[in-house]
Amino acid sequence: MSAQLGTRQKQYQQFLKGRQPARPVLKNSLRAFLAGGAICLLGQGIQELFVHYFHMSEKMAGNPTVAVLIMISAIFTGLGFYDMFSQWAGAGSAVPVTGFANAVTSAALEHKTEGYVVGIGSNMFKVAGPVIVFGVVAAFFVGLARYLILHL
């Protein structure tokens, strides 16, 4: 790349400042807070139902609660609502477990035309894969730190 182009690029980047609408951070944060909170409230409600009607302990009710949320998210993704909701909710719909379920379901749906194995099988975790990889990596280091702190 020529030096002249480099200068032009710098000038243009300078010129662009303020000429493009920024992401509405405050509005997005508020919406994320409301939507994320609402999803958590829904989860809390479901957990209460398990505790109340199925006589589970609060800890035991955790797993089926997550399963129900994942199911709701997957169904809404399949019906084509979740992405519209996410455009409004942003991080509020991406951070809870429903966002993870959406990432997996949407990728599976997208690649169903290529068949079960090379399509769904190999692409299902295309979007959500990094979360698992770096989740495991992070867990390893946190576990290591915990071990070192407790045993040294």
Binding site: Y12, R23, T77
Partner: protein, 337 residues
Amino acid sequence: MLIGQQTWEFTSRPRVLGTGTAVGEKEGAGPLGTEFDLVFTDPYLGQESWEKAERKLLEQAQEMAVQKAGLSMESVDVSISGDLLPHIISANFAARTNGKPLLGIYSACATSMEAVALSALLVDARAAKYALASTSSHNSTAERVFRYPTEYGGQKPPTAHCTVTGAGAAVIGHGINGPIVRYATIGKVLDLGVKSPWEMGAAMAPAATDTIVAHFRDTGLTVNDYDFIATGDLARVGHPIARELLKHQGIELDERFSDCGILMYHEDQPEVFSGGSGPACCACVTFGHLLRRIQRGEWKRILVVATGALLSTVSAQQSETIPCIAHAVTFEAENLS
């Protein structure tokens, strides 16, 4: 014939003899909805995949263009086509259906005017009697190739574009009726350092400006010689930037300067963001709307500057900046002295 540095003048006056446009529901609900030949409410068009749906759109547009030119597919000598999908499968597979000699091309969303320019050149050189220029895009196929799965819930910024679902085709040849293809200015690839694939308007604006300036320089025409100048898909963010860049170059444009990405959708339509993009955006707006205004006698001469962002998912993930291109074509009315 080359005039200046990068402009062709078509002295034998090839014309757009017929056009065909096929679009999806969202485009049909836009301000130009009634201008398009076919509006499909089913995003799958009865096919089993988005890719097949896009191909169907392209085939429908091609057939419509040939039919409206008063010809049959047999009389088309060459088809020039391209799209956004890897290995331009829409163009290639549609050519399997129509059985015509194919020149497959790619310049992203600038493909429409590249196809028109090359078609006019072939007709002008008598290498073809009738050439079929066409292009297509589908929102869902483009999402998969360039962004995320269609149902993935990622929040898009206000600078994002909405890829147009549609296809546009035009038959170029010598005849008595139809807008004349007078000039084509072939754009240079320009990269002014925009990295984010969400900011294609800003990335492509300098390329559009560069081609417009080159066009005026090569042809000796001025802004006042044009009734309308449309950029391809800079949309509501990129278009004002292009306007400002042109002003710096001493080219002042008024309301006769707009953008196909802006014209395609209503501003308040859901999830259109800054406006339309995709090869079909410029193709459908030009073939469906702009050329009709010439034929209705409202305009005498227009310039369509199709803009394309030449990135790939790999280049974007490797943090490369976005090279862009713009091809401009001048369309004229019959009775222009």
